[in-house]
């Protein structure tokens, strides 16, 4: 089997596919090409192995302690400024923090937000995603692609599990905004229906109780796990959505 050159367009597209960079139409055509050309399928396998190896062997280390303090003192003035806050600047920095939240900052979800409000917001996000040109921002059935995609967009990368064997294939993920907090939403498919699964960090707030089981015909299943509130929203039958939730919760195959 001869290996296509690395500057071959189809090879670049296989890499882009695995990196979740293709639009749905191109992702589909690359997936088809891979199923027909063993050389491309082999390329994809190698890249996935390599990515897994890097992920497993090279944890991302933090900057050494003290570096931040040295930086603050070398640019100067930051401490003085902190001691005497300008309220205008402070207010503006909150606006700016909200602005850059998409790339790193995790704003605390208002813990006073009631389950009903959260459910309303998430059902709206689900409906909006169905009306958008595509329901996800990263298209991939590979959880090793979807999970890292959230890195840098939100600070808590969600738990992503593969439920394709149970006929709930992963479609991809997107960032929804709850109030002013970006949250991760995974999208799974059941027959012709989509399921939005949103992970909302509880931030120490007590587990939510109650909340609606359906809004506008969309069924809602909610549970809490490891300090995260999960919301599954879909127009599949309630039983199916319960099954999805059970499968997701009992799935151990995160890595």
């Amino acid at each position: 089997m001869s290996r296509p050159r690395s500057d071959d367009n189809s090879v670049l597209l296989v890499h882009a596919y695995l990196d979740g960079e293709l639009d749905p139409a191109n992702a589909l055509s690359v997936a088809q090409q891979m199923s027909q050309e063993p050389a491309l399928a082999a390329e994809a396998e190698r890249v996935k192995e390599l990515q897994k190896l890097i992920h497993d062997r090279l944890p991302r280390e933090a900057a050494p302690p003290g570096l931040r303090a040295r930086i603050e003192s070398s640019v100067g003035g930051t401490r003085r400024e902190r001691a005497k806050p300008s309220w205008l600047a402070l207010a503006a920095s909150i606006v700016l923090a909200a602005m850059v939240a998409g790339t790193s900052t995790w704003l605390v979800v208002d813990s006073r937000q009631q389950p009903m409000q959260v459910a309303e917001l998430l059902v709206s996000d689900h409906i909006r995603s169905l009306m958008a040109p595509e329901p996800v921002d990263v298209v991939s059935s590979d959880r090793h692609t979807v999970k890292p995609w959230f890195n840098g967009r939100i600070s808590n990368s969600p738990r992503v599990v593969d439920l394709a064997r149970n006929d709930f294939p992963l479609i991809g993920g997107r960032v929804d905004v709850l109030g002013r907090t970006p949250v991760s939403t995974l999208v799974y498919r059941r027959a012709k229906h989509l399921i939005s699964l949103t992970a909302v960090p509880a931030d120490g707030a007590p587990a939510l109780n109650g909340g609606p089981r359906s809004i506008n015909g969309y069924n809602i299943v909610r549970w809490s796990e490891n300090g995260v509130n999960y919301w599954a929203i879909s127009d599949v039958e309630p039983k199916e959505l319960e099954l999805f939730a059970q499968l997701f919760r009992s799935s151990q195959n995160e890595l």
């Binding site: 191109n26 190896l53 933090a62 050494p64 070398s74 998409g102 921002d137």
Partner: protein, 207 residues
């Protein structure tokens, strides 16, 4: 090189909008309201870990990386007004990268590969590419430990290394990598494919 269009960015990093619009009207103006220190704390300080890791991959050790990040932070602070409300992580990483390269030119001139050299490397690698190869990867690289992997990545030419690190370790998307490394997305794609193949090649030879 013809590249099939990548999906349009609609995420929060997109300058062009929906579905997630985090840049509220007035956010641009609010940058103007912030003093330099507040802006620096919001734009630069959250990304010191990323900055340190990139500097470490580029310089090859932690002590030099700390110097580079400190130097880059000062440059970022001086240039903070040029931050135009785009992606702060890519903005900072591009400064870290430039700082690291000028630091290397000054302190480790032997390690700098010029663009001409890089082209030669790419040509040579193009030939490598055509080798036939049927070895299943998993059996080989399952035995690779962290040190071997780190050494193999360190051996990559800098342009390949930074691209691979930003994608496969830091998880940046192609657009962010293009911004941080100041090359077109097509170049990001070809460097990434070559970096990954070259890395696999090295790991296989180590075995």
């Amino acid at each position: 090189m013809s590249i099939t269009p990548l999906r349009p960015r609609t995420g929060p990093n997109s300058p062009d909008g929906p579905p997630v619009r985090l840049v509220t009207p007035g956010a641009q103006e609010s940058i103007g309201m912030l003093d330099d220190n507040a802006l620096f704390r919001t734009v630069v300080m959250p990304y010191i870990d990323e900055a340190y890791r990139l500097a470490r991959w580029l310089t090859g050790n932690g002590t030099d990386a700390e110097d580079v990040v400190q130097d880059a932070s000062v440059r970022a602070f001086r240039a903070i007004r040029s931050y135009a409300g785009g992606n702060p992580r890519a903005w900072l990483l591009s400064i870290v990268r430039n700082t690291a390269y000028s630091w290397l030119r000054k302190n480790r001139p032997a390690t700098i590969v010029s663009v001409d050299d890089l082209e030669a490397v790419e040509l040579e690698h193009g030939r490598l590419d055509e080798r036939h190869d049927e070895t299943p990867e998993s059996s080989l690289i399952a035995k690779v430990d962290a040190e071997q992997l780190r050494a193999a990545i360190a051996k990559l030419p800098a342009a390949f290394r930074e691209t691979l690190v930003l994608r496969d370790i830091e998880g940046l998307d192609y657009r962010e990598i293009a911004e941080a490394t100041e090359v077109p997305i097509g170049t990001v794609m070809s460097r990434l494919a070559r970096a990954r193949r070259r890395l696999l090649e090295t790991l296989r030879q180590d075995d």
